[in-house]
């Protein structure tokens, strides 16, 4: 029972509210990954000399995907807090707000990808057929992040200090995800644990197909799907089970 009309209106509002009164408006969304890229690129090429081919594009792709995850979870939490009265007094469900936040950020992600590909082609890099697999990864990413957000908002409503914990947790996750480095820098014992993280898997595979024209092994693809679907199902189940009880804490 998803009301698309309502989601459309919420996404529109999200966009409006985010950029109200700001000078650069929507350009902030495009600027943010590049500012991050600038800092990380500088540190990891001049101070810590990382040897990765196409490092700038490598970093940018990782940052764009990572930002979608961070922004969706944070926007979902903010949206719930801002519309708490609506949630307790109308039939609006918190899931709808999460979906709206996710769509809003997916649009930003798409525009960021557009900029990425412009740079990619201007740089004269070839794009192979295997990169079509990225479309699948994109869909998986959106499903995973949206379902994770459903659980994140429940925790955020239930525990007032969850936001601080989430800040720290995402910092840890940022460095535990191969964003500024690739898996070659991780010892083999650790690699297995790193690859339990579906967002890490998506970033690694996305880089493989877009930047290096290599297709992941069938076994790895199957594992990616299993982990992704498991996360979606578990998160949705947790959300369904606890939604009503948690709303009493709002």
């Amino acid at each position: 029972m998803i009301d698309f009309n309502l989601i459309k209106e919420l996404v529109k509002t999200d966009f409006k509210l985010k950029y109200y009164g700001s000078f650069l408006g929507f350009f902030w969304s495009l600027l943010k990954p590049f500012l991050m890229l600038g800092i990380l690129y500088f540190v990891f090429t001049y101070f810590i000399k990382v040897q990765i081919p196409k490092f700038a594009l490598f970093l940018l792709l990782g940052i764009i995907i990572w930002n979608y995850f961070i922004d969706t979870t944070n926007d979902s939490m903010n949206s719930i807090k801002a519309k708490s009265k609506m949630l307790t007094k109308t039939r609006l469900s918190p899931g709808t707000l999460v979906i709206a936040a996710s769509i809003h950020n997916a649009i930003t992600l798409l525009l960021n990808l557009l900029v990425f590909f412009i740079i990619f082609f201007v740089g004269g890099h070839p794009l192979g057929y295997v990169s079509l697999y990225f479309i699948v990864l994109f869909i998986l990413l959106i499903c995973i992040v949206t379902s994770l957000s459903l659980v994140v908002i429940l925790l955020n409503i239930r525990f007032t200090d969850f936001k601080h914990i989430w800040d720290v947790l995402t910092q840890i996750l940022f460095w535990a995800t191969p964003i500024v480095y690739n898996l070659d820098y991780v010892t083999t014992n650790f690699q297995r644990w790193f690859l339990l993280n579906p967002i890490a898997r998506i970033i690694v595979d996305a880089r493989a197909v877009i930047l290096y024209n290599t297709f992941p092994e069938l076994k790895q693809i199957i594992i990616t799907f299993i982990i992704s679907i498991a996360i979606c199902v578990i998160c949705y189940y947790i959300y369904k089970k606890n939604k009503e009880r948690v709303l009493e804490f709002l």
Binding site: D3, N5, L6, E9, L10, T13, K16, L17, Y20, A82, K83, K85, M86, T88, K89, T90, R91, L92, F159, T160, D161, F162, I165, E244, L247, E248, F249
Partner: protein, 242 residues
């Protein structure tokens, strides 16, 4: 017709309130959190006929709003059922969906959509909504610059555009000026003529006696009296002076 059968709703009152995770962990180690069950509603059963104005009265905290939320499908009861085929719209607080940073126009669209009004209907009736609320000149002003009365009128004007068979109004008459109150009453009478059911709560006993066909008195989550508004109000006053 709305049939309410054996509705009970309980909340837990923790004796030590813990809202942060840290407190929760510390509390878990130190002692078990003791929770006390608290019944807001205890085994409530009654019926509301189609096309009547039904009033609910009672002291603060007697369970009025909880009951309305259950009838409106916003929360579900711990036991019991609400039987109805009607489309119910609830209006539990004025201007709830409104965002101070958005303009009146944007707020009408957002709030209207949340209440289930289609885009087409909103486009068509936008002017009428502004007119009813009496804020035509301020359509593109941010809501934070509105007075609370204006915002409330806007909310009411938007809400009555929803398509419903039953409308739930919680304390609508507590706010708004005389002229707007008159407008509201007129609107309610129009609904009644169309055969729509109206459920209201109010602390204004005059409004209950004037408007309602039947009324109900709630006390500590139980039905104390139900029937003719005059008698129910009388029971409430007698009860209160005791």
């Amino acid at each position: 017709m709305i049939q309410i059968k054996h509705i009970s709703k309980k909340y837990y009152i923790p004796h030590i309130q813990r809202t942060t995770l840290f407190e929760k962990i510390v509390g878990f180690i130190k002692e078990k959190n003791s929770l006390e069950e608290f019944y807001v509603l205890k085994d409530i059963s009654f019926e509301i006929e189609k096309g009547e104005i039904f009033g609910i009265i009672g002291n603060n905290g007697c369970g009025k709003t909880t009951l309305l939320k259950i009838i409106g499908g916003i929360i579900s009861p711990n036991s019991g059922t609400v039987h109805t085929k009607q489309r119910i719209v609830s209006f539990l607080d004025l201007g709830i969906g409104f965002h101070p940073e958005l303009t009146a126009r944007e707020n009408i669209y957002l709030y209207g959509t949340i209440m289930g009004i289609t885009q087409k209907k909103l486009n068509k009736e936008f002017e009428e909504i502004l007119h009813f609320a009496g804020v035509e000149r301020f359509a593109d002003m941010k809501l934070k610059q509105f007075s609370s009365g204006m915002a409330m009128r806007l909310a009411f004007a938007t809400m009555i555009r929803t398509e419903f068979d039953t409308i739930i109004l919680d304390e609508v008459f507590a706010v708004g000026d005389l002229e707007f109150k008159k407008k509201c009453v007129n609107e309610l009478m129009k609904f009644k003529k169309q055969g729509k059911t109206i459920i209201i709560t109010s602390h204004g006993m005059d409004a209950i006696i004037d408007l309602c066909d039947r009324a109900m008195l709630l006390e500590d989550g139980k039905i104390k009296a139900i029937g003719k508004p005059e008698e129910v109000v009388q029971a409430y006053i007698v009860n209160d002076t005791k």
